[in-house]
Subunit: 158 residues, 2 copies
């Protein structure tokens, strides 16, 4: 399927009080190449393998294929992944009739908070809450696969 | 699970008359790195995604994880794969109480025929049929992921 999403920086923590669900994510990459990332993710107590293609020219759409796998399988696959991993806390934050996924990164990406909104079409109108800052959709540096190799703490222009 | 196998070159075509099953394989790689290959394979009318780790020191064992996927999913994933693909005809050839998988490579690997035997342990005794030639177990050049980048037709020492 095609994943269409917009991505924003978040500079304050107002979203935390609004979250309806919160869980921890740990993920590694069997390939972090932006044209064919292969991700192994543990999301709370469930696990997934996900393949993503390269972004459309607008930066909003990306082919995505995902399968749930057993937690034990993910635990076997994670050690095979490229060096480094991503850890974050995800908050599901409803706003009007939309649902933001806010990722508070940990470890080497501590300090970075990103809100994502999945869309049904590239043209869909978006209503932004006050706690959302500038849009970073399509900026490859914010790909989790990039954050693994070039973590936020190394950025000169945070 | 752990895949334990031995691999041999095949220099004559006597195996063809002995095959009980024959089917076509087309496969691509979402990652061809020997420490974490991710393969998408269409095998007759079924499809699989397979992750392999790096080989043990003996070259006989390798971590392998595989999931069957829908044919339509494989057809969506193959175009995302690294440039190049592997095409081959596989022959299942029983010999004594063993079952060899003989791969006759096509396209850029035409001329190469490799027989593989899966083992239950690294110590298992192997009985070799007369149509099998030298052992190439653990030789990275014979990995399908290597044959994609350095196909047999480019080898100086075939």
């Amino acid at each position: 399927m095609l994943e269409i999403e917009r991505k924003y920086r978040v500079h304050n923590s107002d979203y935390k009080a609004l979250a309806t669900v919160t869980y921890r994510i740990v993920q590694g990459y069997l390939n972090s190449h932006p044209e064919r990332t292969v991700r192994v993710r543990i999301k709370a107590d469930r696990a997934f393998i996900t393949v993503k293609g390269k972004s459309s020219e607008s930066g909003l759409s990306r082919f995505e294929w995902e399968r749930e796998i057993a937690l034990a399988e993910a635990e076997q696959l994670l050690p095979l992944c490229e060096p480094g991993s991503i850890e974050k806390i995800r908050y599901i934050v409803p706003f009007l009739d939309q649902e933001f996924e806010v990722d508070e990164f940990l470890a080497d990406n501590k300090g970075l908070v990103v809100a994502e909104l999945e869309l049904k079409s590239e043209q869909q109108q978006v209503e932004l809450p006050a706690w959302v800052a500038k849009e970073v959709t399509g900026d490859v540096r914010y790909y989790n696969s990039s954050l693994m190799k070039q973590p936020y703490k190394q950025w000169l222009d945070q």
